[in-house]
C-alpha cells in the first residue's frame, strides 16, 4: 500500500492505523501532530483511523522559530 507521508510516497505493509505507523517509525507520540487527509487527528483516535491506499499523512512537530 502506498501512502504519502510528509509529501513523499512510501510503501507500507502490515500497518493498519496511524498509531501503528507512528510506533513503527519510532516517533515519540507526545510531541507530534498528525494530519490525515487534511484533518487533524487527536492522539486518542490514532488507533481508530485505518490507513488506505493513497492516504495523505502529515506528521509535524515543533522546531525553533522566531
Amino acid at each position: 500500500m502506498i501512502i504519502k507521508i510528509n509529501g513523499k510516497d512510501e510503501a507500507i505493509d502490515k500497518i493498519k492505523n496511524i498509531f501503528e505507523l507512528i510506533t513503527h517509525k519510532g516517533l515519540s507520540c507526545e510531541k507530534i501532530v498528525v494530519e490525515h487527509n487534511f484533518s487533524i487527528i487527536p492522539k486518542e483516535e490514532w488507533e481508530k483511523i485505518v490507513l488506505n491506499e493513497n492516504d495523505n499523512l502529515e506528521i509535524v512537530s515543533f522546531v525553533g522559530g522566531g
Binding site: 507521508i5 517509525k25 501532530v33 487533524i40 509535524v60 512537530s61 515543533f62 525553533g64 522559530g65 522566531g66
Partner: protein, 258 residues
Amino acid sequence: MEDFLKIAGHKIKNRLFIGTGKFASYKLMKQALETAGTEVVTVALRRVDIESKKDNILDYIPKNCILVPNTSGARNADEAVRIARLAKASGCGNWVKVEVIADNKYLLPDNLETLKATEILAKEGFVVLPYMSPDLSIAKRLVDRGAAAVMPLGSPIGSNRGIKTKELVQILINEIKIPVIVDAGLGKPSEACECMELGCAAVLVNTAIAIASDPANIAYAFSQAVSAGRLAYLSGIPTSINQAQASSPLTGFLREND
C-alpha cells in the same frame, strides 16, 4: 510595585519574549531562556524528519513558559489557520503568533492576510498575536477582530537594525488599547530598552540572542534592558530641553553674585 502584562488571563512578569530559531544548539537555547527568565517563547511547526530523529525542542523550554507557535511558512491566511490548528492539536496551549509573509527579501508581513487569519483564529478561541507592519488602520481592525496584542516590526526580521518604525509604533501605542509588542529587528539591548520606554508592552527578540557568541549573556542583557525600560516608562521619562540646566549649585564658588 507589581507590574504584570496581562494577556488572556496570564500574568507575565518578564516582558522579554524570546524566539527559539537559529540557536546553535538546544542546550545553548535552554541556557539563554533560563538566564533571561523569559516566560513567553515562540516556536515554529515543521514536518518531522522521519529519517534523522532529533531532540525535541520542548524538552529544552522551561515548563513555566507560555509556548507561542508561529505560523511561519504561511503565505496566506488559510495556510496560517491550518498551521495554527495543527499547533493547537499538539496540546501545548492555544496561543499563536500569526505570521503571514509574501515577501522573501524583507520577510515583511502581509497585513491583509494577517487580518483575515486573526479574525478566524480569534473566533476559534486562539490567543492571537499577529506579526504586522505598523499601520494604525490595520491595528484597529486587528483589535476589533479579537487580537490579544499586535506585534509590529521594528525592522526586518534578523536585520538587527533596531526600532526604525518608531514613529508609527508610537502612534499604535498611543491609539490602541491592546498591548503593542515590538517583534523583529531589535539587535541591541539599548533598542529593546527604548521600545519599552516608548510604552511597548513587551518585545520579542530572537536573532540577536540566538546568533550571539554567548546567547545566555546577551539574553540576560536584553532582559535587564527590557526591565529598565519598563521601569522608566512607568516612572515617567523626563522631557529633553535645548539648553543646559546646572546639576551643581549655580552660585559661583567663593563669589557673591553669579
